[in-house]
Structure formats: structure tokens, C-alpha cells
Symmetry: C2
Subunit: 176 residues, 2 copies
DNA sequence: GCAATAATACTCGGATAGAGTCTGTCCGAGTGTCTGGGG
DNA sequence: CCCCAGACACTCGGACAGACTCTATCCGAGTATTATTGC
């Protein structure tokens, strides 16, 4: 059982986007460079976050991704569900309903899960409950306690490296 | 993220083996028939349980699998770990240590997990804690409350259908 | 009738293919920006 | 100088291959049973 790598990527990206102004967008290429990730694949993950209403994207030049709502309103579960989907890890295939001593529907209804399924689901629910109780802002707070200077460095790197075009903007006095 | 189907199979098989006498063995073929499962693949799963010390196997005729210890001493986590392995679902790939603003080792040591990894691991630990708090005997208790007659039916089916050979044993009076 | 022996059939156990999902990549649709020309 | 039109470059978005894990299967090693043979 392995969680998609995209969850880690998505969480870090959300934290970094929260450092900037709420209206500022960052193209996926910049985020990919920040973490040395394959840009197209990271784009795929951020698309999923967009579909889930966590990020909002704008096409065209000066476009990119930005948070759709404050970091305090994004739970870890929101991100996990956006990347992994809603299906639970443990999926009962109802083997108890098969074979020579199959549980008949008369004993109890179709929709009632078996004891095994119920126990596994309770444990998984505890996991999801923990994920839902933590917002990404908490993660950012811990991260800033760890490395206070990182926020500034990331912000400056994200906005500083030519987010507004410098292509044709020659240095002052170079205009001839 | 998807948990192996073998976990469901293994849990049901443990419950069923606990119905019989502790010394009685059941071949995998019988258990596979009981749930209409591929026998060789179920065998693979039960092998994993054997390696984990949950089941004990005996080869040869009259052989098969039996519980290695009472059902009260087998936690759900034991079974999950036996099938799925010990690695966590969320695996930090340390992307924060990469790229232009990578966290330097000087900030904090190599072994210290990042805030994202820590948060995810705490949630997963809660899940494992719940799994470790429930033993398979609890699951069996719930199952028997649900379908009280099933235990008897399963026991009779497991031991009754020629567990001792009837191949050459003709009916009484047929010998002459 | 009894014991020893060889054959037998049954069991697990690990090594070997196939399917599905996760990972990674590519190109196209859409949009804001920049350049050039005209009024 | 200001306005407009066209071309451009940049962005996301979904469609397309490759890698890895899960699923499923097969055959071999080992053992208790069973039939046979000799005493």
C-alpha cells in the first residue's frame, strides 16, 4: 500500500503558495524547478487540486496557480482526497457472500458490511479524522518554527526570478 | 492508494481457523473453496502470515495451516503488516532538500523529517494505533453476533468434507 | 497375522507470467502581452 | 500622442507511453499415508 508521491508535492506547493500574496499566481514550471520535479507531472497533480477547489488556475502569460482559499481552510484530508480520490484504502470485496457457506441476504441486508470490513473501516476512519483535523496552515507553522528563514527565501525566489517579464527590458542606460 | 486484497482474505481465514481445534490444520485448497478464491494466490498470502508467525504450516497429507497463537493475541496490525509490509503508506522523498532553496543539512540534521512528513506520519500512526488496538478475536465476536449460525456451518464444512481421506473407504457393507 | 519397504498422493513453498495503477511525457487550446501601423 | 489590429509567447489542460506493484499461476521439495511383499 503506497500513497501517491503527489500528496507530498501538493502539500509543499500549497505551503509555498500561501507565502505569496493571495492574488499572485505562480506557473507550475517555477514550482517544479523549486523542488526539482518533473514539471508536466507536477502540473497533473496541481490540476487535481484545482478540480478539488483547493487551487485556482489562470491560463496565459502571468498565469499560473494560486490558492483558492486561505491555508487555514485547507485540511490535509482535502489534499489527500484531491490527489488519491475518495475511495478507501481497504475495499471489501464481500468474499463472505461467496462460496458454499455464503452469508445469505436474508441474514442481513446487502448494504451491511461484514465484521472485517467494519473493523478495517473504523481504523481507516480514525486516520482520515486525524487528517481532517489538521490544516495545511498548521504544517506551515511547524515548518517556520524549524526553518524561519526559508519562507523569505522561497518568496523571493518565486517572485524575484523574473515573474514579470524581463526579456526585452534592457538595463537602464542601454537604450542608446 | 489501495490496500492489498489479501488483507481481507487473511482476516477471514484467521477467524475461520480459530473456530476449529487449535491443533487442527486446514489445507489452503479448502479455504480457497470456502470463499471461492484462487487457491495458489491465497496460499501466497497465508505464506506471508506464516512468515510473520501468525499461522503455522505443516506439509504433506493431513497438513495445512493452523493458527500459531490464540486469536486474542493477533492484532489487525499484525495481519496488515504481514501482508502489506512494514513500510508506511506516506513515504517522504525529501523534496524539500532539493532545488535552489534546498534546506541545508546545517539547519537541521538529516534524520529530522520535514513538517509535511511529520504531519502525515502522525495521522498514519493513529491509523496503525487503531489497528493495533483491535485483535481478530474482536472481529470474530462481532461476526458471531451478526450471524450466530455461521460458525457452526463453517466448522462443519471445513472438517466434514473429507478432511480425513474417504477416497478408498467404501461404505460399510460394501467390502464383501 | 505382522513388520518393513516402496510407491503414492497430498501439502506447502518459492519462482514465473499477466493486469492494473502510478509515474512521466507530449502536444494542443486558450489568453494576456507586445509590436507595428494608422489616425 | 493615442488607438487598433495582428502576431506572439506563455500558461494550463487533457491525451499518450513506460515502470512498478499487485494479481494470478505453475511446478518442485518434502512428508504422512497406503498398498505390497516377505517372514
Amino acid at each position: 500500500m503506497r500513497m501517491s508521491e503527489g500528496v507530498e508535492w501538493a502539500l509543499h506547493c500549497c505551503v509555498d503558495l500561501s507565502i505569496l500574496e493571495p492574488t499572485q499566481t505562480v506557473p507550475v514550471n517555477r514550482l517544479a524547478t523549486l523542488y526539482d520535479l518533473p514539471p508536466a507531472y507536477l502540473n497533473k497533480q496541481l490540476q487535481a487540486l484545482g478540480r478539488a477547489g483547493i487551487l485556482r488556475s489562470t491560463p496565459g502569460p502571468r498565469g499560473g496557480f494560486r490558492l483558492a482559499r486561505p491555508l487555514e481552510e485547507i485540511t490535509l484530508l482535502d489534499v489527500v482526497v484531491a490527489i488519491e480520490g475518495t475511495q478507501p484504502a481497504f475495499r471489501c470485496t464481500n468474499i463472505i457472500r461467496r462460496g458454499p457457506v455464503a452469508e445469505s441476504d436474508a441474514e442481513y441486508g446487502h448494504l451491511m458490511p461484514c465484521a472485517v470490513s467494519q473493523a478495517m473501516r473504523v481504523a481507516e476512519l480514525a486516520w482520515r479524522r486525524h487528517l481532517a483535523a489538521r490544516v495545511v496552515a498548521d504544517v506551515r507553522a511547524v515548518a517556520e518554527l524549524r526553518a524561519p528563514r526559508r519562507s523569505t527565501m522561497v518568496r523571493e525566489w518565486l517572485v524575484g526570478k523574473g515573474n514579470h517579464r524581463e526579456r526585452k527590458r534592457r538595463p537602464c542606460g542601454d537604450r542608446g
